[in-house]
Each structure stands twice: as structure tokens, then as C-alpha cells.
């Protein structure tokens, strides 16, 4: 500014905005990861879930499917293939991260706002997702890599 400016606090109410003002907002670390998992989970649930639920719980009840994929023998047999294990692991992990991320925004929209509550929600919901995914990993790997 020119040195002999007459009045410096010229327009406190509406200081013109300049581009490289640091907005002071820190970059977030978790959110991009969670959103990545959320959209990956979204694709998984959209593409893979309906057919799976249909085969296991809906079709056999109404006789819309010749065999019963959920019968213990057939299911246990298929369960031996690593691909099936990987499939269910992806299903469970993807859906948990997708659902919990969406649930958080629904609860926030419903009014659970404020830094404290949102942080708590983050912890609880992500904990569920992580634990669930680890559980799925445990079952998927058990009996294949170790007894």
C-alpha cells in the first residue's frame, strides 16, 4: 500500500478478497480415503449384492432357482475356492464402508451436527466397518492359509 495512505482501516466490513489468502482450513486426511472406499463399496454393492441376496435368500424360497445355493453342502463346497472367499470378503468390506459412510451423512443431515458428535460418529461407524472387514478377512483366510 502507499505509505501515506490517509485511512488504513478503509472498509472493514467488506475487505476485498484476494486469491491466495490461505483459507486456514487444514487438508483432511481420512475423508478422501473413506470416500474412495465408499465409492468402491458403492460399485460392489450395486453390481454384486442383488444377485447374491437373490440366490441365497429369495430364489430358493419361491422356487425360482433349480438348486439351493444356500444349502450347507453346496455352499461349504464352494467355500473351498479362494475366489469365493475373496468374493465374500470384498462384499462384506465394501458394503460396510459404503453403508457406514452414507449412514454418517444421513445422521448429520438428520441433525447430529457439531464437531464433537461428528467426531464420535466417525469413530463408531468406522470402527464397525473395520472390525467387520477384519472379521470377514479372518473367516475368508481361516481354513485356507491356516487351520
Amino acid at each position: 500500500m502507499g505509505s501515506t495512505r490517509e485511512s488504513l482501516a478503509w472498509n472493514p466490513g467488506r475487505e476485498t478478497v484476494h486469491a491466495d489468502e490461505k483459507t486456514g482450513e487444514p487438508e483432511v486426511f481420512l475423508e478422501p480415503l473413506l470416500w474412495g472406499l465408499f465409492s468402491l463399496g458403492g460399485f460392489i454393492t450395486a453390481f454384486l449384492f442383488p444377485i447374491t441376496v437373490f440366490l441365497l435368500f429369495v430364489a430358493p424360497v419361491f422356487g425360482w432357482w433349480p438348486t439351493d445355493p444356500a444349502a450347507y453342502a453346496t455352499f461349504a463346497a464352494h467355500w473351498q475356492e479362494p475366489l469365493v472367499r475373496l468374493f465374500f470378503f470384498a462384499l462384506i468390506g465394501g458394503s460396510l464402508f459404503h453403508g457406514t459412510h452414507r449412514l454418517k451423512f444421513m445422521l448429520v443431515d438428520a441433525g447430529l451436527r457439531g464437531p464433537g458428535i461428528e467426531a464420535a460418529l466417525d469413530i463408531i461407524l468406522n470402527a464397525i466397518a473395520i472390525v467387520g472387514t477384519l472379521g470377514a478377512l479372518y473367516y475368508a483366510v481361516r481354513g485356507w492359509l491356516f487351520v
Binding site: G41, G42, F43, T45, A46, F47, L48, F49, P50, I51, T52, V53, F54, L55, L56, F57, V58, P60, V61, P66, T67, P69, A70, Y72, T74, F75, A76, A77, H78, W79, L83, V84, F87, F88, L91, I92, G93, G94, S95, L96, H98, G99, T100, H101, R102, L103, F105, M106, A129, G132, G135, A136, Y139, A140, R142, G143
Partner: protein
């Protein structure tokens, strides 16, 4: 409504987790769990959740059409054609799941 579909998918995630747990636990636990899932009133809940799940899939395909219009083509594709492509893809993937995961018809 659309948001509900996402939460339902998490619910099914837990159901399948339990399925694996009962599978691990042995035939009786597994069959008991599957039977409870298939008999009313749990069955009706199941059907409602299944409908929500399908609706979630449909809305997700619509969103893809709206979210990535210019990604691969020079001019943005109308979202309806992207939606159509996704549904075809969906049917293809479902068929693949039937054969690869559940061993065919």
C-alpha cells in the same frame, strides 16, 4: 430413500459376516441361520431390504451417468445412455457371479 439403500447394504454385509461365522461353526448353526432368514416374518423384512438394495443399485447407475459424463468421450453422453450401459454391465456381472461363485445353474 436413495440414502437408505446404502445403509441396507451395510446391514447385509453384517448378515453375510454372520453367515460365514455360522458356516465356521458347523452345519446345524449354518442351516438354522439360513432357515430363519427364509421364514416369515424375517423373510418379509428380507424382501423389503432386497427391494431397497435393488433400488440402491439402480440409483447408483443413474449417478454414474450424471457424475462422469465427460470422462471417456469428447462430448458429455446423456446420462440415460450411460445408465443403459451400466444396466447391461450389471446383468453381465450377475451372470458371472452365478457361474464363478455359485457354480452355475
Amino acid at each position: 430413500m436413495r440414502e437408505l439403500g446404502g445403509v441396507v447394504s451395510a446391514l447385509y454385509g453384517l448378515i453375510f459376516l454372520n453367515l460365514l461365522r455360522t458356516l465356521r461353526a458347523g452345519e446345524s448353526a449354518y442351516t438354522a441361520f439360513v432357515d430363519t432368514m427364509r421364514t416369515p416374518p424375517v423373510l418379509y423384512v428380507n424382501l423389503v431390504l432386497f427391494a431397497l438394495l435393488v433400488w440402491h443399485a439402480v440409483t447408483w447407475f443413474m449417478l454414474i451417468g450424471k457424475a462422469q459424463p465427460i470422462q471417456f468421450t469428447e462430448r458429455p453422453l446423456p446420462w440415460k445412455s450411460v445408465f443403459g450401459v451400466n444396466v447391461l454391465l450389471w446383468i453381465g456381472v450377475s451372470a458371472a457371479v452365478v457361474y464363478l461363485v455359485f457354480g452355475g445353474i
